[in-house]
Symmetry: C2
């Protein structure tokens, strides 16, 4: 366990357990150095993690202060700005997939550009409905280069493609670039998501990258607007 990670975790737990009142000042960096027996840069890194997670605020010349947050918000934070697939996001709940399509095609010029392919290369073309506790919540349109993600089977799609990529292929996933929009469902989507009446969808378009910088996935996920939202913490 890394020192700065361990310290960050300890501080985060203290805050989440309400050991500080909203707006209260944290121990000084110099004090923490002694307390934890590490150098100041290490303390700084630990506290900067909490800043990134939106839990505290640092002011040069004054100190570090716990943000004045609603209790529930404190618990929900630290997850925002992170990256994980559908299955990992809802770990512990019942997750399933219904496969509507699993073909190999040529990508459009648009997708080819995003995935750094030529239009006469091949990609998997996958459409899945993802179910959470037996209720359909999202339709995912996924394209991946067959050269990179070799040997994909129907069975894998039932579960987690990401787990296949990491555990079986031995790749590491590094990041995802996302764009979020609001859209209306198509008739097909209304049926698949069992939508009655008028309900918009949250569309998340994503290009995902391996740790060598190669894009391996272009996907469009359309979430039921009444189930899903998207959180983030922006620092100035």
């Amino acid at each position: 366990m890394l020192k700065y990670e361990a310290i960050a975790r300890e501080l985060r737990e203290d805050i989440q357990q309400g050991k500080y009142t909203p707006g209260e000042q944290l121990a000084l960096e110099k004090e923490m150095c002694q307390q934890y027996g590490v150098s100041r840069i290490t303390i700084k890194r630990a506290v900067d993690e909490l800043v990134k997670q939106g839990l505290v605020v640092k002011r040069r010349g004054s100190g570090t202060f716990v943000k004045s947050l609603k209790d529930e918000d404190v618990k929900e934070l630290s997850m925002a700005n992170q990256f994980s697939g559908f299955a990992a996001t809802f770990k512990g709940r019942k997750v399933a997939s219904k496969i509507l399509r699993f073909e190999i095609i040529h990508p459009t010029a648009e997708v080819a550009a995003k995935l750094q392919l030529a239009v006469d290369d091949f990609v998997y073309d996958i459409i899945r409905v993802r179910l959470l506790d037996d209720r359909p919540v999202v339709v995912e349109y996924t394209q991946m280069p067959i050269q990179l993600i070799a040997g994909l089977k129907r069975q894998t799609l039932e579960k987690s493609i990401y787990s296949y990529i990491e555990k079986d292929l031995g790749y590491k996933i590094q990041s995802a670039h996302r764009t979020v929009r609001a859209v209306m469902p198509t008739d097909e989507e209304r049926e698949q998501l069992q939508i009655e009446g008028v309900l918009p969808l949250l569309e998340v378009t994503q290009v995902a990258f391996l740790d060598d910088g190669r894009p391996f996935e272009y996907s469009i996920a359309r979430h039921r607007g009444d189930y899903s939202n998207f959180r983030s913490v922006s620092i100035r």
Copy 2:
């Protein structure tokens, strides 16, 4: 100008100007130390900025590599994950506001909790339509504590509240916690945003914080789905 910032900017410009082919390896950190005459930690910080912006990928044991990105994407990045108000986001374009409401009320229990207020405290209650190049693109419902944001005038709302808070009140804005959803417009919103037919809205709910950790704004912005999107880079 900070050293790591300057170096990050220089590297970013090189990448944006296409001086590297997709997937190409950057100079080693040790080499950059010599090239820029700084220590390795400083180089590391600079390169870590590029990682955060989604432009490069670092692999321990191998080196740092430029992501394989579409050219347009390279230019649009580095803005994602940042925080700015409406006026700042569209700097250079014609921005205006139509004020639909400007009152002082008691907050609901929900909003009071988010803003760390009591329900018998007072908040401004503001509704504005924001126009971009004379076209309405978003309706903003904003509440702010009157104790904190004192002396707000109708005139200020026409322009930028954030600029008032920073320049006139002398506060510093630190961060914003956001949640994004897809919703349908109300009849009133349809009218204000001049929506014909069926068009969903992208709803961004935000709590914004000063640099001392105090929340100063609870706002719900409902953007026309055909104009707006929301970008982010997630690192694993």
